[in-house]
Symmetry: C2
């Protein structure tokens, strides 16, 4: 073996500086930190909480709307909703016009949980962001917007561009 072990002729990938890897670590840690709280307290799974979060913001959405809004797939939404309905945290109302659609909204019970989790979530976000100065936060948002746009426009359908 040659003595310069590290300096191979091919480019190496340093995970510590590889963006997708770093994003994954950061994202998982952030979600887990919050999930731990509402899961302990209310037995909510991540998908369940996401459904509640959008319904709290915009009641009357259909399951499909929820799926689009949360970037979850419809199976995941269907199951989360079923479980939330079981727990009387969400209710389904048939749409007046379109029989396929059900309008979803939080029940009083669901709303009470929402009203308790939201401040908790916002608080934790605040705790995370305490690491950053105000204008650093703005910058972060701006940079994330740019990246998200960029990546969204790239990773289209397989048969599409490339």
């Amino acid at each position: 073996m040659p003595s310069d072990v590290k300096t191979l002729e091919h480019p190496t990938l340093d995970l510590d500086h590889f963006l997708p890897y770093r994003l994954s670590i950061l994202s998982n840690r952030a979600s887990d930190a919050i999930a731990q709280h509402y899961s302990d307290r209310f037995g909510l799974s991540v998908p369940e909480w996401r459904v509640m979060a959008v319904l709290g913001q915009t009641p009357g959405m259909s399951a499909r709307d929820v799926a689009q809004r949360t970037a979850m797939d419809k199976v995941q939404v269907s199951r989360a909703v079923a479980s939330l309905v079981d727990a009387r945290r969400v209710k389904r109302d048939g749409d007046e016009v379109d029989g396929r659609i059900t309008r979803l909204s939080l029940t009083a019970k669901g709303r009470a949980i929402y009203d308790e989790v939201v401040p908790l979530a916002l608080h934790l976000e605040e705790v995370f962001l305490a690491a950053l100065a105000p204008e650093e936060r703005k910058t972060l948002n701006k940079l994330m917007d740019k990246l998200t746009d960029r990546i969204s426009h790239l990773s289209v359908i397989p048969s599409q561009s490339e």
Copy 2:
């Protein structure tokens, strides 16, 4: 119902501006965009690729080392390694001193795949980052470092530390 539907008295959570949610979307899109390529081409799962990525960088690691390095759990590593060994992409060598440990490294076949995937991954990262100016990239890295540090120090889960 009052006409101002949106303005409820409790704080609402706007997912579009909620950091953990945004991170999750961005992270998933980035990983998926890359995974799509190496999965199509080589049938590699994300955990498998991660194992190969660290072994390419640092051969001779134990499974435990790999787990620590990639933030994967040891079960996931064990399975990814087993499947990679099956495919002759990774080999296990018993440690001279400690019989519990196996030293992992890429085979020639594994190395060939690594050498093909790395440029691809780096290229895609570059494509993502094309959205940012050079000093914006530096800033992004700095901000992510700060956040990651911050969150790591908070989520002190007892059993987690290993």
